[in-house]
C-alpha cells in the first residue's frame, strides 16, 4: 500500500522506509515552535527534567505574539521568562517586539520552514505550514519541552482524507471561503486525528496565501495536519524566502485515503461562519440583517499582504459605518511595511480603521479589541467559540477579508457586491 504525502514525510523523519496509518513512530524534528502563552510552561517542564541545553538552538523558534506588546504585568512576566530562556540558550530564532510577527505568518516568511520539513509547535495553528508541503502540527507545552530537549516527537501515523480541488475561485472568494466551506461540509471533528490532503488541478488556482489560510484552519476540522502538494508556486515561495533546500514529497498513486471529497472551487460562495462553531457556515448572501459592532482583519489565518490588499480594495474611497470599530492587524513587520509603502495603511486610516502592530491580540480575546456583552464582530480570524473574543455573551462571525471589509462599511454582514 502506498503512502500519503504526510506519511512519506513522517517515514523519512522516523528513519523508516514506510509507515502506515495507526503506527506509533518517533520523528526527528526540523523545527520546534512556542509562543508567549505556551513556551513558559514548556520552559518549566524543560528545566524540571534537567535537560540541560536545547537540542539545537537554530531549530527552536520562540515568538512572543499573543499578549504582546505586553498587555499587563502578568503577560510581561511570561514574556520576560521566555526572553531569558532564549538568551541563555542562544536561541537563534527569537523575535522581539519590533521584529516579531504572528508566528505562522512569520516563520514561512523568514524561510524557517520549507517543503518536506517535520515541525511541531505549541500552538494549534502550527498546521499552517502544510501550505508549503511540510508536515506540521500543533502540540502542547510538554511536547514542546520534550521536542526542545530531544529534537524528537512521537506521532501516531494519521489516516487521511483527500480533497480533490477543481475549478477556480470566483470574484472575492479566497482561501478562507474554501476552508470554511469544507469545515461546514465535514464538521468541526470531521477530520479528527487525520490528515487533510489537498490535490487536483484546482490547487494551481490557489495562491500561496490562500493555501496558508486553508492549511491554517485544518485544526478547525479536528485534523492533525492539512497539506498541499508542492508545485512551481511553492518552490518559487521557498526560493524567495529561504536558503534551505525544499524536499518534494508526492502521494503515491495507491496511497490510501479513507474518503475523497470533490470540491469545485468555482461553486464556493463567499462564506461566513455563524457563532459558535466554525462549521456553522452559510453563504454571505443569506446573511442579511446581522448588524455588527466590530471588524477585525488580521490573525495567522488572514493577516497576510494579499488579505490586507483585498480589504483595502473594498475600503478605498469608502468609510467605516458609524458605530463600527474596524481593526486592521498586519501579521508581520514585513507585511506592515509593504502595506505602508503601497498605500494600504493610508487607505485604512482614511476609511476610519485602527491599524495595529502585529499581535494575535483580539483573535483569542487577549487584548486590542475585546467585545462587551451583546456585541458582535465579523473577524477574519479562525475561531468563533463562546467568549472567544471577549464577553461570554459576545458573538464572532468568521469570514474572509473582502467580506469583513464590506461588513465594516455596511455596518452589517455584507458582500463587497452590495456596496
Amino acid at each position: 500500500m502506498g503512502m500519503t504525502i504526510t506519511q512519506k514525510i513522517i517515514a523519512r523523519h522516523a528513519g523508516l522506509a514506510s509507515v502506515k496509518a495507526g503506527q506509533f513512530v518517533e520523528c526527528a524534528l526540523d523545527l520546534v515552535l512556542g509562543n508567549d502563552i505556551t513556551a513558559p510552561i514548556a520552559i518549566e517542564e524543560f528545566e524540571k527534567c534537567g535537560a540541560g541545553r536545547v537540542f539545537d538552538p537554530a531549530k527552536v523558534a520562540l515568538v512572543p505574539d499573543h499578549f504582546t506588546p505586553n498587555k499587563d504585568i502578568a503577560a510581561a512576566t511570561q514574556c520576560a521568562r521566555m526572553r531569558r530562556f532564549a538568551r541563555s540558550h542562544d536561541i537563534v530564532n527569537y523575535f522581539e517586539v519590533g521584529q516579531m510577527g504572528i508566528e505562522h505568518a512569520l516563520l514561512p516568511e523568514m524561510g524557517l520552514v520549507v517543503s518536506g520539513d517535520a515541525v511541531i509547535g505549541a500552538d494549534s495553528h502550527t498546521c499552517t505550514y502544510g501550505a508549503l508541503g511540510a508536515f506540521s502540527t500543533g502540540v502542547g507545552s510538554t511536547d514542546m519541552a520534550a521536542g526542545m530537549a530531544t529534537g524528537r516527537c512521537w506521532f501516531k501515523v494519521p489516516a487521511a482524507f483527500n480533497f480533490r480541488l477543481t475549478g477556480r475561485p470566483g470574484p472575492y472568494v479566497g482561501g478562507k471561503d474554501v476552508i470554511l466551506h469544507i469545515i461546514g461540509l465535514i464538521g468541526v471533528d470531521g477530520a479528527l486525528y487525520r490528515s487533510m490532503e489537498f490535490s487536483g488541478e484546482g490547487v494551481g488556482a490557489l495562491t500561496m496565501d490562500d493555501r496558508f489560510t486553508i492549511a491554517n484552519m485544518a485544526i478547525e476540522a479536528g485534523a492533525k495536519n492539512g497539506i498541499f502538494p508542492v508545485d512551481e508556486q511553492t518552490l518559487a515561495y521557498v526560493r524567495e524566502h529561504s536558503d534551505r533546500s525544499p524536499v518534494t514529497e508526492a502521494a503515491d498513486s495507491d496511497a490510501e485515503y479513507e474518503k475523497t471529497f470533490s470540491i469545485d472551487l468555482t461553486q464556493i460562495p463567499l462564506t461566513v461562519a455563524y457563532p459558535h462553531l466554525p462549521s456553522n457556515t452559510r453563504p454571505v448572501a443569506e446573511a442579511r440583517d446581522v448588524p455588527i459592532d466590530q471588524v477585525v482583519i488580521g490573525s495567522c489565518t488572514n493577516g497576510r499582504f494579499s488579505d490586507l490588499r483585498a480589504a483595502a480594495d473594498v475600503l478605498r474611497g469608502r468609510r467605516v459605518a458609524k458605530g463600527v470599530r474596524a481593526i486592521i492587524i498586519p501579521a508581520t513587520q514585513r507585511i506592515y511595511l509593504k502595506a505602508m509603502k503601497e498605500g494600504l495603511l493610508e487607505t485604512f486610516v482614511e476609511a476610519g480603521c485602527a491599524v495595529s502592530t502585529p499581535t494575535c491580540g483580539p483573535c483569542l480575546g487577549g487584548h486590542m479589541g475585546i467585545l462587551a456583552a451583546g456585541e458582535r464582530a465579523v473577524a477574519t480570524t479562525n475561531r468563533n467559540f463562546v467568549g472567544r473574543m471577549g464577553h461570554v455573551e459576545s458573538e464572532v462571525y468568521l469570514a474572509g477579508p473582502a467580506v469583513a471589509a464590506a461588513s465594516a462599511v455596511a455596518g452589517r454582514i455584507a458582500s463587497p457586491d452590495e456596496l
Binding site: 502563552i37 510552561i41 494549534s124 502540540v139 510538554t142 530537549a149 479536528g222
Partner: protein, 166 residues
C-alpha cells in the same frame, strides 16, 4: 487504580476557550487556572467541583487551542478523570503528557447523567455507573501510550529512557 467520583456532564465540542478562557492565560499556575475552569460554559463548576470528581464530555472534547492550561486547569480543580466520546487530538496528547487520566467510551457517556456517581478502573477500562449500576468497558490505550502513562507523563518517560540508555 480505581477512581470514584461525581459526574459533571457536558455536550459535544467542549472547546479549550470555555475550559479556560484566554483572558486567564497570563499565568501558568494550576491553582489560579483552576479558579476559572469551565467558567464560560458552567459558572457553577468552580464552586461545586470536589476533589475526585469526574468530567464527562461528548464528541471532540478539548477542541480548539493547544493550550496545555486546559488539562492543567481541570487537573488543578481536583478532577480525577475525563471521560468523553472522543477527544480533540492536541487535548488528548496534553492529557497523556501531563498525567491527567482520560478514556474514550461513547456508550458509557450515553449511559451517564450529570450528578451520577461513577467508578472507573483505569487499568482495565471498566466503567461502572454506581447510580444506575450499569457497566461499560472502554478500549484500553495501546502499549506505546500506556508506557508514557505508567512513567507518569512524557517528561518522566523521557528521563526514564535516558537513565536506561545512560
Amino acid at each position: 487504580m480505581i477512581i470514584e467520583g461525581r459526574v459533571h456532564k457536558y455536550g459535544d465540542n467542549v472547546d479549550t476557550d470555555v475550559i479556560i478562557p484566554a483572558r486567564y492565560l497570563n499565568t501558568t499556575d494550576p491553582a489560579r487556572l483552576a479558579a476559572h475552569c469551565m467558567e464560560d460554559i458552567d459558572a457553577s463548576f468552580v464552586s461545586s467541583v470536589k476533589p475526585g470528581d469526574i468530567i464527562v464530555g461528548g464528541m471532540n472534547f478539548g477542541c480548539g487551542s493547544s493550550r496545555e492550561h486546559a488539562p492543567l486547569a481541570i487537573k488543578g480543580s481536583g478532577v480525577s478523570f475525563v471521560l468523553a466520546k472522543s477527544f480533540a487530538r492536541i487535548f488528548f496528547r496534553n492529557a497523556i503528557n501531563i498525567g491527567l487520566a482520560i478514556l474514550e467510551c461513547p456508550e458509557a457517556v450515553d449511559g451517564i447523567r450529570d450528578g451520577d456517581t461513577v467508578e472507573i478502573d483505569v487499568d482495565t477500562g471498566v466503567i461502572t455507573n454506581k447510580t444506575t449500576a450499569e457497566r461499560f468497558t472502554a478500549q484500553p490505550f495501546p502499549p506505546f501510550l500506556q508506557k508514557i502513562i505508567a512513567a507518569g507523563g512524557l517528561m518522566a518517560s523521557i528521563a526514564a529512557g535516558k537513565g536506561a540508555r545512560g
